[in-house]
Symmetry: C2
Subunit: 329 residues, 2 copies
């Protein structure tokens, strides 16, 4: 444990004042070339690292972002957040920020945590995931002028705050088109109940694609809560109709997995596509729409740092997903 290396140690070593060292760190352009080099050398030689606590106390900024980590619901969708989180940490790191985790049991609890975090750690910003209609969290943050970005559009008013999202409609449209190209005509959709922004968006992609092909009439649509069992049930009912579909686009891998089970029992092959390209999909060969999570995370960091530096960045980013073709479609 070498004794602590402070800005003073560096100054002494480089035979300049502490202020000059600070300048080299925070405003390199105002320091003479040669002096700067000498200071830089001292910094690396001594292994100096700016103490964030001291810096934060003076500047009020912590170079820290906070992200909520969710309780891994059914575990299938959990991996999406997991991948996003990794991308976020990596990009933030590169931008000189670190990511702090927190948990919350609901919106109110999360808002209380905002308060806590802001008071105790002077957090620079938040990255929220999974926003929904009339989200109280974004309102709270916006009202206090706390910088934040959401991964997921604000469905009520797209202009209300910076966000990054993946174009779900484009994803399902792609999947639907692919089935169309393969000769399918009766293509069903199994989605979530109306009212969730994400679910409605994905359904719209399928619906418009079918309509564009003049196939509205051949497009049975079901809605259910997420889950494998639910997917299986809906698909069975679909198959039991007079004119059963030959393909189905599902709003999630969970539902697609269930549909796949129902389909396995039938003689006629039915094509199935899912959404999110989760590990499960990869493992069982399910064709699925893949979100560019690392890119999304990167853009979130970009937006947030831009906000903090007062740089004007386009605050709304919509990324395109890609269809990963496997055995099931």
């Amino acid at each position: 444990m070498a004794e602590k290396v402070t800005i003073a140690t560096v100054a002494r070593h480089a035979r300049v004042s502490r202020q000059t060292v600070s300048n080299v760190l925070n405003a390199p352009h105002i320091v003479r070339e040669e002096t700067r080099r000498r200071v830089q050398e001292a910094i690396t030689a001594l292994g100096y690292r700016a103490n964030q606590a001291a810096r934060q106390m003076r500047t009020g900024r912590s170079r820290l972002f906070a992200v909520r980590i969710e309780p891994t619901r059914d575990g299938i969708n959990g991996s999406v957040l997991d991948r996003f989180l990794h991308g976020l940490t990596e990009t933030a790191d590169a931008a000189g920020y670190r990511v702090m985790l927190y948990t919350a049991t609901g919106d109110d609890d999360e808002i209380a945590t905002f308060d806590d975090l802001l008071g105790a750690y002077d957090l620079d910003g938040f990255v929220l995931t999974g926003t929904d209609h009339g989200d109280p969290r974004t309102a709270w943050l916006a009202q206090r002028g706390v910088p934040f970005v959401t991964f997921g559009r604000p469905w009520d008013d797209p202009e209300s705050h910076p966000w990054v999202d993946v174009d779900g409609a484009a994803g399902t449209a792609q999947a639907t088109q692919r089935l169309l190209d393969a000769g399918h005509r009766r293509i069903a959709f199994i989605g979530w109940p109306e009212g969730s922004g994400v679910g409605d968006d994905r359904r719209a992609g399928w619906r418009t694609t079918m309509a564009a092909a003049g196939l509205d009439g051949a497009a049975p649509c079901r809605a259910t809560e997420d889950g494998i069992a639910q997917g299986e049930r809906e698909m069975r009912e679909l198959l039991a109709t007079d004119d059963p579909p030959t393909a189905v686009v599902c709003v999630s891998d969970s539902l697609a997995l269930g549909a796949l089970r129902a389909v396995r029992d039938t003689a006629v092959p039915v094509a199935v596509t899912g959404f999110d390209d989760t590990p499960v999909a990869a493992a069982i060969g399910l064709t699925s729409v893949s979100q560019p999570l690392a890119a999304a995370a990167g853009r979130c960091v970009e937006l947030l740092t831009g906000l903090l530096d007062g740089q004007p960045t386009d605050p709304h980013v919509l990324l395109s997903p890609t269809l990963v073709l496997r055995h099931t479609a």
Copy 2:
């Protein structure tokens, strides 16, 4: 957005000195009952929160732990870390600590990050996951007296530092015993190559159980890298032998998934068990050994906080996994 509430604000409000407020916070017992109550009231009334940066500068402690988030390798095993991380964040929270994330591309890079983090944020401790033989990271931390806990035993010397782990051998033993009870006699094992602590441990559980049943001769054992394709190949080779196994215990869900594919083509039903109870296992009905990840995370935090408070806690915790029975065995 109200003006900042500091210890001075509270002191004024409660008509005491700043020091008394500090005492109420850090050494309540030395403050008179009535004074303490008055200060507490002021604290809640004003919504005061101790500023961590200032506290840290004075005490040198940050109430921050760091954990590495991995690049979600094949995604199947990634979910294990994900669940662990969530448990960690929750327990740390309850203990008044927060979790900071970092990434690293290798051991050396990770050590460099330790240095960074320690210098910049005065981190209180690290939680390492997935230790292996002769881990340079633990050596580095230990040498500098940095508090840390590993999730995973140090295989070379169990006494060298505090750890929490799950008894892998007990898990595979349980799985094997269950197959024995079901009447199986020829039970194979598909594992990882010798040399990984975790893999060898899990193999040992199977081997000793078979030996105890006097079935050493009926216990074909294969080793391969992790992966679905690898599992399928090994299982096919196993099935092609003169006296093929009627059941197989796999060291991971990935391998089990592959084995399952090989087995689906055969006429004779072959029982398969995996390890980690990943979402994939749940989705396809694979019997698997489940690790108590939330509990493990909790014990990690317990050990670490104990270390920091100088409390003597048993520094070695071995938890038992449970077998989750599903369709495949």
